[in-house]
């Protein structure tokens, strides 16, 4: 059987273990095994193609260099996190359920990476999105339920936008072809390029966590079990990015206006994520905001590729590598939260992925950032943008400092005296991936990242984090006596939104019923909002009842009228 098919089928079939009470206890040990065919496929690395004409509307699977990068990312993060989870879930009553959703999510993720047809990609995307709901709400706390609700509604919104975009994109091809690689050119040649690109951009943007559509992200990451947060932040949000790279008309057409808009949106996320992130209380929430901020940089690269078709091919490859670097580093950071011991020295090795994110010289992050800057089109290669990028790097540094700070507090309170050896081993493998293996992966694009480290570049790289560190130290030293550290709850924009809904619902219902904690009843409020829009819940009910009573008369009247008409016409 083809390795491509096996890659997708293995986790799916392993998920069926839940059917047998005898196999269930073994499920968690199968989490890392489920990735093995994918690992073999990635190692083999050859471009492949497989057509299954009977499936969906003609399914195509394959592997090409761009997908290869994302496949490697998925393999490494899912493998390490899976091994981590197999231990982490040890005492969990609902571990089977978790494993089941884990394997389904993995299936979806691998499918969307390998899909060459539109329905296949969309299937994988939807499977991953909705199966991941089970991971987010796993611990069933109030926060998890709320995060799950927000996650689900944002996901549904994204699905809606995406499917509209896909309809339009496929309609733009000749003959309604459903091959993915035909879409960018078709969108570029269509009269509605901007509309279609916009639908796809925002539809996938929910997953990628672009500014404004990121609301689910800081809620879902902290409440999910740690290995789930690692795959959420490490791999799954990159599915949105992969979708952009595959579907948007990058390299086909110059869209200066829209591209600039995307660049600005990316900058907003990069800086705003850092700003809100440093006000977070829990280390995982800080990391979630850091993901938003980093995805902002990747969004910026996509925007740049939209602006300039010539720069696009290089940018696409580098963006994919950036995603690989970020996914590995962020996955390792997340796993560290639940691994490390009480002793503060444990934080030291954690500095490696943190420095990679910051872009310290000789790290994967530095390479990715330099390559990204080099590849920016001339229109963007301006002082202000570079200044803002440096500011973002400083912001990332601040985030990492805040992360270490909150994590130290958490470990001091509840960290284990001695880390669990198996978890530690998994985490060290993750660390090795981030720090070393990254450079040895058999990827075509990787040489693009190799750079000569000149003193000028080194200063560029080191200065922003250094400034941030100094400022942070000064601020911490001087101001903490007078100022309290600002604290924001995760979910930022969600709070005013919820307040608005509550207000609207009060406009509809003057009953003045007591409002529970804002935000927890978002779903209920949404419904009440609908009530309000329809003015009154009872109205359609009454109308229908009236219709039911009168229907015979209405028909009789209609009949007589028509009969007269018929007779007059004959």
């Amino acid at each position: 059987m083809s390795l491509l098919l096996l890659t997708i089928l293995t986790p799916l079939l392993l998920a069926l273990m839940i059917l047998s009470p005898h196999l269930r206890p073994w499920m968690r040990y199968c989490l890392p095994l489920a990735v093995v065919p994918a690992l073999l496929l990635a190692l083999k690395g050859d471009p492949e193609h497989l057509v299954l004409p009977f499936m969906l509307t003609g399914m195509e699977l394959g592997l090409d260099p761009l997908r290869g990068v994302f496949l490697w990312l998925a393999v490494l993060v899912w493998l390490v996190a899976g091994a981590f989870a197999s231990r982490y879930l040890g005492g969990d009553r609902y571990q089977h359920r978790f494993c089941f959703y884990w394997l389904l999510t993995l299936t979806g993720n691998l499918w969307l990476i390998l899909a060459f047809d539109v329905p296949g990609f969309y299937s994988g995307f939807a499977l991953m999105t909705f199966a991941a709901y089970g991971l987010v709400v796993h611990n069933a706390s109030k926060e998890a339920q709320r995060a799950g609700r927000v996650y689900l509604w944002m996901a549904v919104l994204g699905e809606g936008l995406l499917v509209a975009g896909l309809f339009a994109a496929v309609s733009a091809t000749d003959n309604y072809a459903s091959s993915l690689h035909l879409l960018p050119a078709a969108i570029a040649e269509s009269e509605q390029t901007l509309l279609i690109s916009g639908l796809i951009f925002f539809g996938l943007g929910v997953k990628a966590g672009i500014a404004g559509l990121h609301l689910w992200l800081p809620l879902a990451h902290p409440v999910a079990p740690t290995p789930a947060s690692a795959v959420l932040s490490g791999v799954m949000i990159k599915a949105g990015l992969l979708g952009w790279l595959l579907l948007l008309p990058l390299g086909e057409v110059n869209l200066p206006g829209a591209g600039l808009g995307v660049v600005v949106l990316g900058l907003v996320a990069a800086l705003g994520g850092a700003l809100i992130g440093v006000c977070q209380q829990s280390p995982k929430a800080v990391l979630a905001y850091s993901s938003i901020s980093q995805m902002g940089l990747m969004t910026l690269a996509v925007g740049a590729a939209l602006m300039d078709a010539q720069a696009a091919p290089a940018l696409m490859g580098i963006t994919a590598l950036y995603a690989l670097h970020h996914g590995l580093a962020k996955g390792t950071l997340f796993l560290g939260v639940s691994t490390l011991g009480r002793n503060p020295w444990w934080l030291l090795p954690l500095a490696l992925p943190a420095l990679a994110l910051v872009g310290w010289p000789l790290s994967s992050g530095a390479a990715a950032k330099l390559a990204l800057k080099d590849a920016l089109p001339a229109a963007l290669d301006t002082g202000w943008l570079l200044a803002l990028l440096s500011l973002a790097a400083a912001g990332t540094t601040a985030l990492m400092l805040r992360f270490f700070w909150t994590l130290r507090g958490q470990l001091r309170e509840s960290g284990p005296r001695r880390p669990d050896p198996w978890l530690l081993a998994c985490w060290l493998v993750g660390l090795a991936c981030t720090g070393g293996l990254f450079w040895w992966l058999p990827l075509q694009e990787l040489p693009a990242l190799v750079y000569g480290l000149s003193p000028g570049k080194a200063v560029d790289l080191i200065l922003p984090p250094l400034v941030a560190m100094v400022l942070a130290a000064l601020g911490w030293g001087l101001l903490r006596q007078w100022l309290k550290w600002p604290a924001l709850p995760p979910g930022d924009l969600l709070l005013p939104l919820t307040a608005l809904m509550v207000w609207l619902s009060h406009q509809g219902h003057q009953s003045g019923r007591a409002v529970a904690v804002p935000g927890q009843r978002l779903m209920v409020r949404g419904r009440v909002l609908l009530d309000w829009l329809m003015l009154d819940r009872g109205r359609p009910e009454r109308l229908e009842a009236w219709l039911r009573q009168q229907v015979a008369w209405i028909f009789l009247l209609l009949l007589c009228l028509m009969m007269l008409l018929a007779l007059s016409s004959l």
Binding site: P53, F54, M55, L56, T57, G58, R97, P119, G120, Y122, S123, A126, L127, F130, G134, V137, A140, Q145, G148, L152, V156, L157, E159, G160, L161, V163, A164, F167, A168, V170, S171, Y176, M523, G526, R527, L530, M534, R537, P540, E544, L547, R548, V551, A552, F555, L556, L558, L559, M562, M563, L565, A566, S569, L570
Partner: protein, 499 residues
């Protein structure tokens, strides 16, 4: 008479005969009745499958004899009728199984299964009807044979709902009858043919044609539950679960939509109907119904009522697809005719199992039911996700073709309707799924404990649900297999548009 002449009559006659036999089997002869029922269902399925195979090979099956001069009774198998007949034959077999488990030990089974067979026989008659007169005949028989099923429980609510149902459907039938008579008087006996009767109708007064079209569609719209004529459907929920399942998936609602497909495609012809300006208003009405049904479903707290409003919404997808010009929309409509049936019957099977086994009727009582009845809940989840139209399930395939068809026809406004409906479907199905799997069991829910080693409910109810649930997955995942609904849709679109 040759075999090709007899086959449609044979198919129809066999199911009518079964109904009569079942009426004659005395009430206590439970096993005999079950055997006859299942045997007949299997035989019918085989006959219809044979017919479908023949049609695919280009065969032609027609039974025709004159009733009076200028008026024929015509039964004919073309690709559209085979789609509907196949759906009805397959789901009848499963629903019969289910009903046997559901009604085990209850009274009046003879009456129930007798009318049940009658109902399906008339559905088959509707599928095979070759002209409007034959169609109307079976359409009315369907009305009368479903009434005893709706009021089967005999409670006051059931009788009231039955009365509602009769008022609605009989008035609808009368309106349609006028349309049929008018058409017959003005233009003679018109068979259903591919592409419609443009050459016959083209010379007539446009206003007359519009009036006839409105009468026919108006009559059909009652059963198709198009707003504002949908009122009977949610009240008919008092019927036993297998009846609701069949009512929503194949029999009544589908008969109405099937009639609309016939009138638009095979009587007027979609091009001609569009030229008369008839399709756009119907399309807008269907779009409104889609949204209205979904919004109303959101407010229902009773599981079956929510499913009923969902039917109101989902069935209009088919009508919407019919009003969009172009082969892809035709594919979408035909495929949805089948896929919606399979998905909805799955959901009703599950709703019936919850009601029978755990006594659950309201949605908030479903908390934690996934742990108690995992198989049923998996099947329900699959059906619900399919209804939302998530890939790779059945609902996605039909939605995909409807959306592409809308753009092919240049009807961009349909896309927001489809997207909004998808989101509304998610809004009323996902909370149920969440309750099933992620909520703890409610305090005070006195569910009978599961018996280890035993299936979670009667096997005869569980297996049909599992099979239809599997179909929901396979119809989507393997959509392009030969003989799949999608391939039938493409085959029909080829015929309709002569590609």
């Amino acid at each position: 008479m040759t075999m090709t002449n007899m086959l449609p009559l044979l198919v129809l006659g066999s199911s009518l005969l079964v109904a009569l036999i079942i009426f004659m089997v005395p009430e206590p002869r439970y096993k005999l009745r079950t055997t006859v029922n299942l045997l007949a269902a299997v035989i019918k399925l085989i006959l219809v499958a044979g017919m479908a195979w023949g049609v695919l090979q280009g065969g032609f099956y027609e039974t025709r004899f004159p009733v009076m001069p200028g008026l024929d009774f015509v039964l004919r198998a073309d690709s559209l009728s085979v789609v509907f007949a196949g759906l009805s034959a397959l789901l009848w077999l499963l629903t019969t199984c289910y009903a046997i488990g559901y009604l085990k030990g209850s009274a009046n089974q003879r009456r129930f299964f007798g009318f049940f067979s009658f109902c399906v026989a008339s559905t088959l008659g509707i599928a095979l009807a070759g002209n409007l007169f034959t169609f109307l005949l079976f359409y009315e028989i369907l009305t009368l044979s479903t009434y005893p099923l709706v009021v089967h429980r005999g409670t006051e609510a059931a009788l009231r709902a039955g009365k509602q149902y009769l008022i609605y459907t009989l008035s609808g039938g009368a309106v349609m009858m006028l349309g049929v008579v008018w058409l017959q008087a003005g233009f003679g006996d018109l068979d259903f043919i591919r592409g419609g009767h443009r050459e016959v109708l083209a010379g007539a007064d446009t206003r007359v044609l519009v009036a006839i079209f409105m009468l026919l569609i108006g009559g059909l719209a009652v059963k198709a539950a198009i707003v504002p004529l949908h009122g009977w459907l949610p009240s008919a929920m008092v019927a036993p679960a297998p009846v609701s399942a069949l009512l929503h998936a194949v029999a009544v609602v589908k008969a109405g939509v099937f009639g609309i497909v016939r009138v638009v495609y095979d009587l007027f012809g979609s091009d001609f109907a569009a030229e008369l300006g008839l399709l756009l208003p119907l399309g807008i009405l269907a779009a409104f119904t889609i949204l209205y049904g979904s919004v109303r479903a959101l407010y229902q707290v009773d599981l079956k009522r929510r499913l009923a409003f969902s039917t109101v919404s989902q069935v209009s997808y088919i009508t919407l697809g019919v009003t969009l010009l172009g082969p892809l929309a035709t594919v979408g409509a035909v495929v949805h005719l089948i896929h919606q049936g399979v998905m909805k019957i799955t959901l009703f099977f599950c709703a019936g199992i919850y009601a029978e086994t755990l006594g659950i009727h309201r949605i908030d009582e479903l908390d934690g039911a996934g742990r108690r009845m995992p198989v049923t809940s998996v099947v329900f989840t699959v059906g619900a996700l399919g209804m939302i139209g998530l890939p790779p399930l059945a609902g996605f395939i039909s939605k995909w073709y409807l959306g592409l068809g809308a753009l092919e026809a240049g009807m961009v406004w349909v896309i927001p309707v489809l997207v909004a409906s998808t989101m509304l479907n998610a809004a009323y199905f996902l909370p149920i799924v969440h309750r099933l799997w992620f909520r703890p069991q409610r305090q005070g829910a006195d569910w009978a404990a599961a018996v280890p080693g035993r299936p979670e409910c009667h096997r005869a109810m569980l297996w049909p649900a599992i099979i239809t649930g599997l179909f929901v997955v396979l119809l989507g995942l393997l959509a392009s297999l030969p003989m799949s609904p999608l391939q039938w849709g493409l085959f029909m679109a080829e015929q309709e548009y002569g590609l």
